[in-house]
Amino acid sequence: MEEVPQGCPGTGSAQAGRGASCQGCPNQRLCASGAGAAPDPAIEEIKEKMKTVKHKILVLSGKGGVGKSTFSAHLAHGLAEDENTQVALLDIDICGPSIPKIMGLEGEQVHQSGSGWSPVFVEDNLGVMSVGFLLSSPDDAVIWRGPKKNGMIKQFLRDVDWGEVDYLIVDTPPGTSDEHLSAVQYLSSTHIDGAVIITTPQEVSLQDVRKEINFCHKVKLPIIGVVENMSGFICPKCKKESQIFPPTTGGAEVMCQNLKIPLLGKVPLDPHIGKSCDKGQSFLIDAPDSPATLAYRSIIQRIQEFCGRHLPEEGHLISS
């Protein structure tokens, strides 16, 4: 299950190979020799692999349960509605891989080819990769510490044969930890267009979003904007609006104004969204006239416009 010692100082640390918890670790000699501090060769390999990927978008949230995976999936669906646009969706929520279910791909397996792992295709122009495809049972738990999760993310970025892709969307777990750092570091030699941050309207959620924004600044990840999810609910019976998650401090709108970050849009709570996700279908197709669909489409357009304005340059680096 876990090869690195619990108190591992990290292979890049000054204490690598020298700390008390390094005793008995199979990598101790390697770390003590300083080899662990050398740049990971995978970063260059990933740079090569990513040359065929035009735009990379990370979907982040500070908090769990705000609808990040739902958003990532529908961003992918929306972009792929144009059959000339090649879209890839990478799920790096290693412990809670919901993307296969939301995309209607539960039970699918990953196949190997000469050029690497093949993504699982929903449509000809929409490919998906997730640790969920590597698990044999829906009850299997991925009880991994950071280093093993990082290794998986590295493999996803380096070994998956994504092919020619216009948009690579990376769905992340909530937080600012191993998965997020690894995604940014492994992609550090490529150009990441930016991050879309998902929140719900209440202050408790916004507090965590501010940390997420802080994380983006720390790792110099551009922010495409914030999406406020579950923003108001229209009762199907009386058609009146209620705020299920009250924006006690003004919601994402006020936060974005204060932090001078774009608010990409507000998506109302529509019970059909959850139903579509449970069935593994695109809500945008299931309920084309829902105010939530209209909100999604407008947000997707703004993301496309952002990416169109920031075209990747050859050899562009984001420093980490």
């Binding site: 600012t176 191993d178 997420e212």
Partner: protein, 211 residues
Amino acid sequence: MLRAQGRAVHQCDGGWVPVFVDQEQSISLMSVGFLLENPDEALVWRGPKKNALIKQFVSDVAWGQLDYLVVDTPPGTSDEHMATVDALRPYSPLGALVVTTPQAVSVGDVRRELTFCRKTGLQVLGVVENMSGFVCPHCAECTNVFSRGGGEELATLAGVPFLGSVPLDPELCGSLEEGRDFIRDFPKSSAFPALFSIAQKVLSQAPARLS
């Protein structure tokens, strides 16, 4: 959520002093939130550092005489969860309350959480289905905004107790934001009976385990 933001953590001979959130000093709290200078600061830590802090929270905080220690965890089955189970193992934890929302996508992840409990030898006290239905304040129609029933089905499938469904109540959310005591302020809320019943069920399980 407990109106304790900005409070400081002090040291005593027995270790860090937890922060009391009520006048009666019946609820004390420890969180990394108290250790941050700036609440907007992101804690960009990898696993080992998080594990070390969790160990400290269990062994270096002067909790004093406690009837219950409730540990709130992030989603997942990773460093934090393993570190918590390891740190609490010497103290024979009662078990885990596993929270889900009703829809299949959520249940799909929570099944794995139940496997985590089984593999780490953590007893499951039961499953709670949260955000289970919303009663419109205008017309009282109940809509299942995140579907319904998934939590109960999961509990049945996994052979663990189903503790109850908690409906969505904006007053609960508002109370938490304003640091009010929801149970005291909104005894008529639709969420209150559910929360109360779940608490009673947990309390009733406790005496049997202590013996």
